[in-house]
């Protein structure tokens, strides 16, 4: 290919990359609303295909890649693509967050590898020309990429492991704790400054890598499993930043744009996620009250009596109500009771009862958890009502049926001074009567008692969510 033709091709490929980057932005924009979200994801995927295709054409035209290089590329794509496709296709809906975290880990790893490879090559060149330093504008993004990418790699793996249950979900205190973390940070900082001062040293780079990889582990281990979605989102933002740095290292605009885009949007998303739980990101990373997964205490809240309710009573209340609002929570997800709840709702609707679902934004353990589960059980989308939307309607509800939800219904959130204070809650206590299905008087994620349970209007139906719903269905049918 003639030099002019190649130059033109380079320009064209750069424009193609730009088009790809634009598709990412437009795709994310469309993912802001449920109606266009899927389409937005496809747009983004199209942009990605374009960018990758353009790269392949450019590399082929440049002709610098030999047979080995092509084999490496194609084998890598086949291997990674196959693994990605297989795991993404077969994962269960409830196991998605851990998979996303895994994908995030490899993305961060790839970004770090680019900088590592680039640095080793540059250092080889420098060895032949001693005294010549690696310019600061390469050294800075290289080190940042390696540090952030490595932290993301191990951090995301740990997060994924916690969610898979391979690593205990409980906060694990690292021996030495904050001291170790501090020491690692100091090592990284000193080594980075050493390299930025103009010294070229691969061993020092490996010190940075090792310290950063360890840092990723010690950062995520002490955080409770229930906080993992926020942590994953944060690490996702990190990967974006690492990719942008990789873009600076190899002077590639599309990496810079896409990386910065993810870095920034991921940061906002992390904040939104934390906000929805009424916590700060700092608080989560520092290891908050997370990890106390249900069934802690068995005593009722002081000063109130708990009224236990039989299945038949509950069935009658539901069957003869006009308006029923179902409030699903984490317990429903754990018990995989989404199909049971749908069955009950259909039964009630067939009897002329109005049924809707009140979806708290952070019900469950990841944002949108309830929507995904109920959608999986084919609950019609319009029946799912968001908190702000449905809260006024509890006043008109005859029965609120709470299934495995706890914190998101706790009226204590309206007072100051409790761990849930300030978190917006579902106004379940405004309903004419309340039925709560859970196994015991156990606490929820925040680890505090729920005043709703001692409300005189409340009847407790102690059961596993799945079993309790099945019993209710049978009882309603028998009426």
């Amino acid at each position: 290919m003639s030099p002019e033709a190649l130059a033109t091709l380079e320009s064209v490929v750069r424009l193609v990359w730009l088009a790809g980057a634009a598709a990412f932005v437009l795709g994310l924009m469309r993912m802001n609303s449920p109606a266009t979200a899927r389409n937005g994801n496809l747009l983004s995927a199209g942009g990605m295909a374009l960018a990758i295709g353009g790269t392949a054409v450019l590399l082929a035209a440049r002709g610098e890649a030999g047979l080995t290089a092509w084999i490496i590329i194609l084998a890598g794509i086949a291997l990674g693509g196959g693994l990605g496709l297989y795991t993404a296709r077969t994962v269960k809906m409830t196991a998605m967050p851990q998979l996303v975290s895994l994908f995030n880990a490899v993305g961060g790893g790839a970004a770090a590898l680019i900088a590592i490879d680039d640095y080793i090559r540059l250092s080889n060149v420098q060895t032949f020309a001693p005294g010549g330093a690696i310019p600061l504008q390469v050294a800075i993004p290289t080190v940042l990429d390696v540090v952030i990418g490595s932290i993301t790699f191990t951090g995301s793996l740990i997060a994924s492991g916690k969610l898979m249950g391979l690593i205990p979900g409980k906060p694990i205190k690292v021996p030495g704790g904050q001291l170790v973390t501090l020491a690692l940070a100091v090592v990284v900082a000193v080594a980075a400054i050493y390299l930025w001062l103009g010294n070229v040293s691969v061993p020092i780079l490996f010190v940075i890598i090792a310290a950063s990889l360890t840092f990723g582990v010690t950062m995520v281990l002490p955080i409770g499993g229930a906080d993992m979605p926020v942590v994953i989102s944060l690490l996702n933002s990190f990967t974006g930043t690492a990719v942008a740095m990789a873009g600076f290292v190899i002077s590639n605009d599309v990496l810079i744009i896409a990386g910065a885009l993810v870095g920034a949007s991921g940061a906002i998303l992390t904040k939104l996620m934390a906000d929805a739980m009424n916590r700060s990101v700092i608080n989560i990373i520092a290891g908050g009250f997370g990890g106390g997964e249900g069934t802690v205490a068995a005593e009722g809240p002081e000063g109130g009596t708990v009224r236990s309710l039989g299945v038949d009573d509950a069935a009658i209340q539901l069957a003869y109500a006009q308006n029923v609002i179902i409030v699903p929570g984490y317990g429903l997800a754990v018990a995989q009771a989404q199909h049971g709840v749908r069955e009950l709702a259909e039964l009630l609707e067939a009897r002329g009862v109005n049924v809707s679902y009140a979806i708290h934004p952070v019900a469950g353990r990841m944002p949108g958890h309830m929507n995904v589960l109920l959608a999986e059980a084919n609950v019609p989308y319009p029946q799912l009502r968001e908190m702000e939307d449905i809260n006024p309607e509890f006043d008109r509800a005859d029965v609120a049926l709470v299934v495995g939800a706890n914190d998101v219904t706790n009226p204590a959130a309206r007072r100051a001074g409790t761990p849930v204070s300030g978190m917006p809650i579902l106004d379940v206590d405004h309903a004419r009567s309340i039925i709560v299905i859970k196994r015991s008087m156990g606490r929820g994620y925040a680890g505090i008692d729920n005043e709703l349970y001692v409300n005189p209007k409340t009847g407790m139906l102690f059961a596993d969510a799945k079993q309790g719903l099945a019993d209710l269905v049978a009882a309603v049918k028998a009426l």
Partner: protein, 110 residues
């Protein structure tokens, strides 16, 4: 500061602003799919991985870039597919109860 670096910085800052602007008022329902969607986008690192693979000559570089390409592709392919699966769940009318995988209820984890 070289003009190229200035240009790259400009692009970096603008992309950050785009990122901020894009995620503004998102319903919490979409937080997880959005996270997953953003996660796929940084799979663009595959472009960088291909570029270093193309110019890798020594064994170490070849090894590193092979791993980078495989990692990045896994991120891209898996990311988009899993996001799409999540978003499929948001369709308004469940088009005739489809027997999708993952519906099989599983033993509770907690």
């Amino acid at each position: 500061m070289s003009p190229e670096l200035l240009a790259a910085l400009t692009v970096f800052v603008l992309a950050i602003l785009c990122g901020f602007a894009v995620i503004s008022k998102v319903p919490a329902t979409l937080h997880t799919p959005l996270m997953s969607g953003a996660n796929s986008i940084h799979g663009i690192v595959l472009v960088g991985s291909m570029v270093i693979a193309a110019s890798a000559t020594d064994l170490l570089s070849q090894l590193l870039s092979f791993v980078a390409v495989a990692f990045a592709t896994m991120n891209v392919v898996g990311g988009y597919v899993v996001t799409d699966r999540m978003l499929q769940m948001f369709k308004r009318k469940p088009a005739a109860a489809k027997a999708d995988g993952g519906a099989a209820p599983d033993a509770p984890k907690a």
